[in-house]
Structures are given as C-alpha cells and as structure tokens.
C-alpha cells in the first residue's frame, strides 16, 4: 500500500512538471515576442528588452524552466509584470473564492442529487424514476455557462432576487452568501444529474448484494436496511467521481466567475490571458492544474483505501 501511495504521488508530481514544461514550450513555439505583444507596436527596443528580462523570457528555454521549478520549491511563482506584485500572492488571494464556490456547488448538488438517486433506485421503473432519469440527463447536458446566463437573466436582472455581480463585501457574511447562490446553482445543476444517476446505479447494485438480503432476513426495518446499510455503501462512488470531476468543476467555475464578474482563479486566468500577463498565466494555470491532479490522486487513493478488492491487487 505504501509503495502504491508513493508511486501514485511521484507520478502526479511528474505529470504537473510535464504540464508546466509543455506550457513553457508552447509560449516559446509561438511566433512573436510576448513582451512586444504586451507593450504594443510603439514600444522601443530597449523597453521590450527590459520587459523580456522582467518576465524572465530573455534566457534560454531550459534555463527558464529550471529557474521556474527552482523558484517554485521556495514558494515563489514569479512577479506580475503589470502590478509588480508576487504572482503567488495574487493566485492564493483568488483561490479561496473558487474553492468556496466549488464546495457550495457540490454540497448543493449532493443535497438534492443523492436523495433523488436513492428515491429512484427504491422506486425503480416508476413514473417518478423515469422523470428523474430524463431530468438528470437534461441537467447533465446543460452547459454551465448557459445555466449561469439564464440564472443571471431570470433571478438577478429580471426578478432582482439575487445580486448580479461580484462576490459581496468582505466580512459581510449574508452579503457573500447571497452572491454565492446563483453561481453555485449554475455549477451544481449538472452535478445534481450526475449524482442522482450515480447513486441510483450503485444503490441498485448494493441492494442486490448478500449482506442486504441477510439484513432483511433478520427482519430489520426497511428504513434501517436502506439508510444504515445500503446508502452508506452506495455513496462511496460519489467521493471518487467528485475527485475526478475537479477538472469539470474548475472549468465550470471559470465560466461562472466570468458571467457573474466574480473574483476567483478562473477569472484570474481569463483576465491574465487577455492581457497577456504570462507570469500570472503560468502561476494560475499551474495552481489549478495542481489542484486537479491532487484531487484525482486523492480520489484514487481513497478508492484504493475503501475498496478491499483494489487494495488487494496492489
């Protein structure tokens, strides 16, 4: 087990490093000098040279990549060339907004999706099950930015139930909560569908297993069998699905943050890309990639830890 954990973690580190290297190579393969593009057509050669040096783009490519990793170990992600602030400060200042958004969305989706899936499994092939099945697919296929646009249009612009832009005043709890409702709904809607289908499928599987039959044979109340024994097991797959789904969550968060003009890492990436602020692009893409890789690795490990069959095969 320990060997498996070490191997899995080492592989994740290698993957993140490869991803960063790939990004660096892409910046270099592209025709045109990033410094020149950033400064515009009227910049003098001296200005371009000094900007190149500040972005660290004047050195040979391997040196740049090595230097980036060297700084990374000291927690330094470089300097933002426009505001002259450390990139790490900017990225980690924005990250909590995104994490809260994703967390709220998942909790919201779980609160609706899991009971829905459970109900569908217990009333298999009933009308309600079929309706919930079709609704789940509809939820899953609705792109997050379309849901975000509609909730903005209906609940913010037309009905004025919730605020339309930003994340609320710092320190004002209810203000922040009211700013969180619509974005979390936009991200969470498709997850209601996912979780409902997943819980339904795994619930059906669990309900057919021997220990559930035994529990019934002992004369336990149906409620006890369902909630104490079956649901507990049936919820397990959702843990891993959320881990692997981190990429979708981050992408959905990016769109939602842009639609609601909310601070967060997605909006940071978008803004730094449109202003061609490469150090910030590198830093924020690195952090979100790392977040994604960490969560998939964690879900793999949790899966191995929970499921004796996987553990045995290691």
């Amino acid at each position: 087990m320990l060997f498996y954990v070490l191997k899995r973690v080492a592989l994740s580190v290698v993957i993140v490093m490869l991803a960063v290297t790939l990004l660096y190579c892409m910046i270099h393969m592209v025709p045109g000098d990033p410094a020149r593009i950033l400064l515009g057509p009227r910049a003098t050669p001296e200005l371009i040279a000094s900007m190149s040096a500040r972005m660290g783009l004047d050195l040979p490519l391997p040196v740049q990549i090595l230097r980036f990793f060297g700084n990374l170990f000291r927690g330094d992600l470089g300097m933002d060339v426009i505001t002259n602030r450390p990139v790490a400060d900017i990225v980690f200042g924005q990250l909590p907004y995104t994490l809260w958004l994703i967390f709220t969305a998942i909790v919201f989706a779980a609160l609706i999706g899991i009971p829905l899936g459970c109900y569908s499994a217990l009333h298999r092939n009933s009308l309600a099950d079929r309706i919930s099945g079709v609704l789940s697919v509809a939820c899953i296929t609705a792109p997050a930015f379309v849901v975000a646009l509609y909730s903005l249009l209906v609940f913010a612009v037309t009905l004025h139930w919730f605020p339309a832009v930003g994340a609320g005043e710092k320190g004002a709890f209810w203000d922040q909560v009211s700013h969180l409702v619509l974005p979390a709904f936009a991200i969470g809607l498709s997850w209601i569908g996912y979780l409902a289908r997943l819980v339904r499928a795994s619930m059906l599987e669990v309900m057919g297993e021997n220990h559930i039959r035994t529990a019934r044979a002992y004369g336990l109340a149906e409620r006890t069998v369902v909630y104490r024994y079956a649901l507990k097991l049936a919820i397990l797959p959702t843990v891993t699905v959320i881990g692997v789904g981190m990429g979708f969550l981050l992408s959905a968060a990016l769109f939602t943050e842009i639609v609601f003009a909310r601070p967060g890492i997605g909006k940071l990436i978008f803004d730094s890309i449109t202003t061609r602020n490469y150090p910030v692009v590198m830093g924020s893409v690195l952090v979100s990639t790392a977040l994604f890789v960490i969560s998939t690795t964690l879900s793999d490990l949790i899966n191995a830890w929970l499921d004796p069959r996987i553990r045995a095969s290691l």
């Binding site: 296929t141 979100s288 990639t289």
Partner: protein, 278 residues
C-alpha cells in the same frame, strides 16, 4: 445498421434524440436555403427587436436576424464537432493500438503523454493555447483534437491489451500474419463498437466547448455567427433584451440533449456492459 435504427426508434428517448439531431443537422446544412436573412447583414433600424413574423427570434444590437444567425451557427458547431472528433478518433486509435501492442517502454511514454494532457482542465488548456496562437476556429479544433485523443486512446489501449492475449491472435501471429493484418482485421473491428458510442457521447461536450470558447471571444471571429458568440452578444445586452440568450441557447441545449439521448440508447443497444463505465 437498419436494425439498430429500428430499435432506437422504438425507444421514446432514442426517437426524440434522433429527431432532434436530424432536425438540427438538416437546418444547419440547409441554412443557406432556409434562412430568411443574411446572417451578417446589418439593419440598424430594426435592432433589438423581440420575436415577430419578420424576425422569428428577434434581432440583435446590429439589427441582424437572430433566427438566421442561429441556423448558420449550427454549421460552425457541426463542423467543429465532425472535424475534431474524427481527427481525435483516428489519432487516438493509432496511438492506443501502438500502446497496447508495442513494447512496454513505448506504452509507458504514450500513457504519460495522455496523463499529462488530461492533467489540464480542458478549458484552461484551451484558453492558454488561444492566448498563444490567437483566437480562431482552427485553434479551437486543434485544442479539442489534442484534449480528446487520450479519451479514445485509453479505451483502444485497454481493448487491444485484452484482445492481444487471445488464442486466435496468437494463432494468427504464429501463422506469420503481419502486424498490420492483426491490428487492422482483428483488433480494429473489436474496438470500434465502444468507440462509436464514446464519440457520439462526446459530440455534445465538444459542441458545448466550442460555444463556450466563442462565448469568451476565443472562438470564431465576428461577424461569423456561432451559438457561443450569439450568447456573448446576449450577455452584453442582458439588461436590454433576453432574446439573444434565448436564441443562442435553444439550439445548443436541443442538440446536446439530442446527441446524449441518441448516444445513450445506442450504448444500451450495442454494448450494455459499457453502461457502468461511461
């Protein structure tokens, strides 16, 4: 083929999916004939109108007919989906078979490459590429191809590995069959079933991604209509008129629903085992 079609149409959801897909595909192909207006023709006098007999879905801020723009936008969506999934599928099949049949070290390299690509959240990878190369439809297609290859490659590799150890492959090998013969005649047909299903379920994702990137201004260049750029217009005009958002989202939602229903009933028909893994 006809048998599959008949069985799909017997299922209500499969039938709905098929009708939606056919409807949108035909209206996109025939956009030049059906569309009442030129999708890029300006008509400032009639701007920001609601739906009427003249303009079925209203007009945008430049007086362009939204219904015509939606029809032409379908061409962009389908073009991106067809080209990128076709290319990703071919490259994925090739790499997957090489990884499954080739030497161990090559397999490891290809898998590491797949894992690296998958470690980027797709939209971030797309944004980074667009920032570097510049926004265009070709860039969007390129990004989708690169990010979809691992999905197909992994499936093909797993299938190839499981087929490889079969007796009949060993027998074929022993009789001196070439690698191409083994891969082309025995492995390929065996991996095609799951791939077709995977691809048909990928189409909605790809179309939504194209629309999303165009919504961010990272896809097609204006004035070319795309469902995403119509939605972007709607976003900037959200306090003036709801119609561009409604017009842009209807076909997007319908086609993703259509392909998903179709893909799911295909999957249940062809390969019920996949039900759990997809």
């Amino acid at each position: 083929m006809i048998d599959v079609l008949r069985r799909i149409t017997h299922e209500p959801l499969g039938l709905i999916g098929l009708i939606l897909v056919i409807l949108i595909v035909i209206s996109a192909i025939l956009a030049g004939v059906v569309a009442p207006y030129d999708p890029v023709a300006l008509n400032i006098v009639d701007r920001l109108q609601g739906p009427s007999i003249n303009h079925l879905l209203g007009t945008d801020q430049l007086g362009r007919d939204l219904f015509s723009r939606v029809l032409y936008g379908g061409q962009v969506a389908l073009k991106v989906a067809l080209i990128s999934i076709g290319a990703a599928l071919s490259i994925g099949v090739l790499l997957g078979m090489v990884a499954g049949f080739g030497p161990r070290w090559l397999d490891n390299i290809i898998m590491l490459f797949f894992d690296t690509i998958r470690s980027f959240p797709t939209v971030m990878f797309a944004l980074a590429t667009v920032a570097l190369v510049g926004p265009s439809l070709e860039t969007v297609i390129l990004v989708i191809i690169v990010t979809s290859i691992p999905n197909y490659g992994r499936v093909v590799r797993t299938q190839t590995l499981s087929i490889k150890s079969n007796e009949f492959i060993r027998a074929e090998h022993g009789m001196g069959a070439s690698l191409f013969r083994i891969l082309g005649i025995h492995v390929l047909p065996n991996v095609m079933g799951p791939l077709v299903i995977l691809a048909s379920m990928d189409i909605p994702t790809v179309i939504a991604l194209e629309a999303g990137l165009s919504f961010l201004g990272m896809g097609v260049k204006p004035p070319t209509p795309s469902w995403g750029s119509i939605l972007n217009d709607g976003y900037t005009l959200i306090r003036n008129t709801p119609w561009p958002i409604i017009a842009g989202s209807i076909p997007l939602v319908l086609i993703t629903l259509g392909f998903t229903f179709l893909g799911e009933s295909l999957r249940d028909l062809i390969d019920p085992k996949l039900r759990k893994s997809v």
